[in-house]
Symmetry: C2
Subunit: 261 residues, 2 copies
């Protein structure tokens, strides 16, 4: 089994250096990136012409679809999606990379490449999250707004798809716990194995605190804790509780279901 996998170019030895600790550190660091990106998006009001009209001749989608698709094309050319941590929102017809191949550590099972739930992330971000943390209004900055949305989408997508790495290190830690549920394709059983409510509560509290710290008005005097944060910390907690954690676990389950292929 392992040898077949190695022959696919897959290195499942622990020597990749990825452990539950390094994965957790990355997830914690990514929280900062996500919160920064939300705070930056909140600088602009909703700016609905970014979303509900088709402006670009020859392109039928919205302005934000245009910016995300074209930026992804550009970044694909210089190798962004060679990194197994990155997932495009418009994976069809992406150009080949022109930069030399970089040898990222092969940590994941090769079947994981087919898992991309960015459609769900896109829907969640625009239809549920965005209205919760931006003000109403239109200040004309549609290009900057779309660029800012892209930052948020990329940060959320990376975190959620990092579930692949989470699942891989959890599996390596205790394959015997997961194999029966994988073999019987028991999604519910896997979900149960991957759920630690105490940890999830702690994550929600931590991101709420981070939103408070990073979104505060920092002055040289004493911090006025009554000042409104740039993004409501309870929204960030809800983002994690309602969407980030469940979607990450969806990715983990999908990954594990393919783990013995």
């Amino acid at each position: 089994m392992v040898e077949a996998e190695v022959s696919l170019g897959w290195d499942d030895s622990v020597s990749s250096g990825m452990t539950l600790d390094t994965v957790r550190d990355s997830l914690i660091r990514q929280e900062d990136t996500i919160i920064f990106s939300l705070i930056e998006r909140a600088k602009f009001p909703l700016n609905s012409p970014t979303y509900n009209q088709s402006w670009v001749p020859g392109f039928s989608g919205s302005l934000v679809e245009f910016i995300v698709k074209q930026t992804e094309n550009l970044q694909a050319k210089v190798g962004r999606y060679e990194n197994p941590e990155e997932h495009p929102f418009f994976p069809d017809d992406l150009p080949d990379t022109v930069v030399p191949h970089f040898e990222y550590p092969k940590v994941l099972h090769p079947a994981s490449a087919s898992i991309n739930i960015n459609k769900d992330i896109w829907d969640m971000y625009f239809n549920q999250l965005l209205p919760l943390f931006v003000a109403a209004g239109d200040d004309g900055n549609y290009a900057s707004t779309a660029a800012s949305d892209l930052q948020c989408l990329q940060a959320l997508s990376k975190r959620i798809h990092y579930g692949k790495f989470v699942a891989e290190v959890k599996f390596r830690d205790a394959p015997q716990d997961y194999e029966p549920a994988i073999r019987t394709k028991d999604k519910e059983g896997l979900m149960k194995l991957l759920t630690f409510e105490k940890v999830e509560e702690m994550v929600k509290k931590r991101v709420e605190k981070k939103a408070m710290v990073f979104g505060q008005e920092v002055t040289l005097g004493n911090t006025d804790t009554n000042v409104k944060c740039k993004v409501d910390p309870s929204v960030v907690s809800r983002l994690y509780g309602d969407w980030m954690i469940p979607l990450t676990k969806d990715v983990e389950v999908e990954y594990l279901l393919r783990r013995l292929d």
Copy 2:
């Protein structure tokens, strides 16, 4: 004089709503953006192939030049540079915008459109600042690195060119103070009028504190103040003291020299 300016489409009435207070608030808010962008860039090591090689067929520049130029093209199409607060790094041959014209308040003298010191900002960022806050090394993430550099460049450029607005509100507040030096093209005199050392020291201290707050490791326990910040706060203070403040004042002087045209 004023009427000639109005006929150019320039509204120099105070009714634009821009005051020294709103300008200051924007500068303070932009500090957060700048520090977030530096912290995000510091996630990656230097990744020198982003800068010192030409990878893209048909494009003679470096990978970061390719990403910045092409992203600017994309953003120009959807109107980013219609906003007088935004300045491209590659202003030649930018495509026309395809989105309807948004009526930004006409606060600045029309002659200000010709002021763009992004070449200096580019040199400062890559040759002086970047080596001070990123680790050595190469992790292959050149596309993400270049995208991250673009975020930094745009944030720095916006802040520095905001000097145009700073100069305009200062001039409106006390035209009699500035007019003699403008008429005699006395750059040194103007620089003196624009320099408030106490304020500059305060800004440097504030951004240092912000770098500490935003770059800390936020945990649910007590904050360990001994933990290394993600970007050295003294580097951020130096960035402002050595480059941001002087370059902003350069823009202010250039603006004022054209203010009576």
